[in-house]
Amino acid sequence: SQQGEEDPQALSIQEGENATMNCSYKTSINNLQWYRQNSGRGLVHLILIRSNEREKHSGRLRVTLDTSKKSSSLLITASRAADTASYFCATELRGSWGKLQFGAGTQVVVTP
């Protein structure tokens, strides 16, 4: 079974609104990463949060990590049509040679 599970599976919002998606995982991690994938393209790294960090910001992105609950959230503020994409969380397990386990993703549609 997958290590990371995103919720919701799909999200539809209007430009200017905030988008929040969550990721839960099962075992101890070194870090948790969020990636974006536009239709038909490769994945693009957004943000990495290490297991000893609780919150991280990058531009309009805010990521939180709660290791006690084994969960993370990604917030995109003031969304734009260009944010339309699939978003994946990925966990790097301890002792894993950098291997990542991905969730199935959240599909976000931002309408003008």
Partner: protein
């Protein structure tokens, strides 16, 4: 963009034929990974490499083999393609961040493989 290319970008082949996909990087990163992406599954790791000639299996390695004879190239081979291997294949690279953790992965553009 990280210097990662994949070839071919699209391939249609028949069941039972061998197929080799190539990943080439210009970043001199030590770690390389092959994933497949299927609807509803996210990305699943097929094989990975932690150095030249050093490779190991991922979670869905059956039916696949890999080779890495140079830092910059990581080859994925389907010895005898099956329809269940129809997928989009992504290569990724990364480097170590410290003693026991790694940096983010950079992904190639993907190869869409169809096995008829």
């Amino acid at each position: 963009d990280a210097g990662i290319t994949q070839s071919p970008r699209h391939k249609v082949t028949e069941t039972g034929t061998p197929v080799t996909l190539r990943c080439h990087q210009t970043e001199n990163h030590r770690y390389m990974y092959w994933y497949r992406q299927d609807p509803g599954h996210g990305l699943r790791l097929i094989h990975y490499s932690y150095g030249v000639k050093d490779t190991d299996k991922g979670e869905v390695s059956d039916g696949y083999s890999v080779s890495r004879s140079k830092t910059e190239d990581f080859l994925l081979t389907l010895e005898s393609a099956t329809s269940s291997q129809t997928s989009v294949y992504f290569c990724a690279i990364s480097e170590r961040a410290g003693e026991s953790s790694y940096n983010e992965q950079f992904f190639g553009p993907g190869t869409r493989l169809t096995v008829l």
